[in-house]
Amino acid sequence: MALLAALGLALLVVAPPSAQAAAIKPVRWVTKSGIDVLFVERHSLPTVHLQLLIKAGGALDPKGREGTANLAASLLDEGTDSRSSQQIAEAVDFIGASLSASASPESTVISLNVLKKDLKAGMELFSDVLLHPAFPEEELKRVRQQIIGGLIAEEDEPEAVAHKAWQELVYGTHPFHHPTEGYRESLPAITREELIAFHHRYYQPRLAIVAVVGDLTRKEVERLLADHLGQWKNSDQQAPPTVPAPNPTAPQTKLIDKELTQSTIILGHLGLSRNHPDYYAVSVMNYILGGGGFSSRLMKQIRDNQGLVYGLSSGFHAMKAGGSFSIDLQTKNATANQALAETMKVIGQFQADGATQQELDEAKAYLIGSFPLRMDTNAKLVGLLTSLEFYNLGLGYLNDYPKKIAAVTLADVKRVAARYIRPDQMTMVVVAKQSEAKIASPKGGS
């Protein structure tokens, strides 16, 4: 097997694979009404993937009405001026399409996946639910009950419970603090009139991005949008909605008791926004610390060398207005304190010593080399296009990303590890059988 090893070595010189993201050449234009359009022509399948993003989400929910953006999105296909909920469902399913809408803190995304032969029928439904939702009172009651039921069911998912509690503590009064689905208490207060007003205020062509990937030409896409979204008018000229940057809250610890064999632990604090120039250095740094799966220090130390966890990762959740940094792990109740202490030890060492040259090279090689895998299907590509436009990254992003990652240095990694990870500022939530976990002190005795 010496031969095998030698051949292996020859292949393993760290250099980005040759797969070129640049082979994908999106085109962009703006329609008369102000819709920002991105399009990639792909004829390998007789299908069309289309996504429309509205630059408004749960962060714009009025206080006491948390869940408005999500409820509005959920009701789009539950009845329009000319079609009932059941008629829409029947028509979508009959052509084997999928039509869905969902809100996140900063945006709402409506997606249509349809066979090309059924594109016209699919787009008629798509534009009807987007432009003419009726928000019927009876459907509102029903969908609201269903969302509340979902929130109740989620209480059996330790990670969801921990994450919601953590987000509330970390964001304090900032609009990112609440779950996009809202609360059991806030949902009943939302009225049909409020949903109509939300739709009127934010569902406007000038606040929309459309990405299309599939078996079409640019001309066909232009005609498609003219035919189906040409009647869509801007309802006002108010400045686009903005969400303020979050301010740090004081570090806190919250323990939630449940009859569980494992402790689910989340700890962290605010992070940075997607548009921050440090984003790329932070991506490389986090890959080395805990974002890089089996290549990361946290995974190697706490899972591979100590067998304490199955799931463990660190991540920066970067949005437009700001973001967060968290470490998530699960371990049996009896080893909760040990896993926490080990986590803090790894972080401390990483901040003190920084990364090694080899870690840096390998992190960069992964992030650059795996970039094409983030767009190797039409479904992935349409999502990537929508988000790169939403974050104003520009079409050059497909070429720029590898360069920006390649430019990150060891000094950058050390600098951003010190700046964006603050062990003394961490807010922690532990969902566990607390009598067994016996969390000794916040952050594992740091």
Partner: protein, 450 residues
Amino acid sequence: MNRPSVLPFRFVVWFWLLLLPAAAAAAPPFSATLENGLTVYILEEPKAPVATIQVWYHVGGRNELSGRTGLAHLLEHMMFKGTTNHGKGEYSRLIAKNGGTENAFTANDETVYFSNLASDRTELGLELEADRMANLLLDPKEAMLERDVVKEERRMRTDDDPQSLLVETGYALAFLAHPYGRPVIGWMEDISRLTRDDMAAFYHRYYTPNNATLVVVGDVSAKRLMPVIQRTFGSIPSRPVAFDPITPEQPQLGERRFVLKREAQLPVVFMGYHVPNYSGADAAALEVLGTILSSGKSSRLYRNLVYQQRVALSADGGYDPLSIDPDLFYFYGMAQPGHTHEELEASLDQEIAKLQNELVGDRELQKAKNGLLAGYIFGQDSNFFRAMQIGRTVNVGAGVGYIDSYVPRIQAVTREAVRRAAQQYLVKDHRTVGYLVPLPPSSTPGTPAP
């Protein structure tokens, strides 16, 4: 498609993948068998400069012995712990630093290793797969550490997830003799007792080229790849593989019912009916039946139980024909707050009775077929899913021809065939019904100890 994420063991078994419609192959994949028995399938798909490599070992939870459940899955973990050529964790490190992603999963019928790479790194992926097929270290210390990791995995996926526990119990009761009744992740007590020697014996017995299938899908050329495969895998010696006999499940004589009580929020009902697998004449009719029940917001379970009666928060019924031995057609429902198991079960039963007593409408049948066929086309978007389809059809014995015959088989299903399938298979005597009964929280929120 509207499938539950709760059915068995996400990621360990990846049930949701198994339910996806077959992905189409425009041209049949290139296939070859090396002298040592390794079967190779290569599908050239140049649309993006990437490729997927999958090695399917024809062994899984189904081949474990009582008292040693979880062994196939634990060995899967150990395949990342080093060979005589590459140390612990090197496989993952080498794939990652070459821009690839990798993982593996274990199911009843198979253990599968995969990597997704830029197509010019395919050779590296093949080298490393060949290496661990022949030269696994199985270091005793690593084996014991990884056993702890898998116990954490079981706690997370099953023990702390009431819905997973319900399904695990349901399968254990539905299969009294056949190994599909045992969890792929293993019973906790079994996992705790597995030894390094168990893993080594399992590896030497089943990890041979003649008991594996290699699938590559992507921007590759079969002509250029075959010499590489010959060089990397060709020298691995074959060994005869002796499989233990599998106890067939005897026909069920009457309904089996159980109750599972634990801290949870909402009542859940699980029902599993014994049905034939892909080799049965009614497989396509059962697939169409599952689509009529569960696919989309106009499907019967959604429209009637979720939308109209509002007895369920979610409801599903479905079937995957691609198993080596006959498996279950399952139903699964979570009650809306305020509704009971009994109401939910009665509503599910009513839907089944309707399918047995009345023919489905022409348009409804056409809608189900349209949905399955559109799903079939959308499936081609992903190299990974296409490789999965090849691997699965080969692994269960259906053969890749099954993929091409998918469309005509679905098209041929009639309204009468759907009714007959419902009458013949969805009968109470052949089912297992389980209730998850939520217990209230037992204690009050804790505070940090001093």
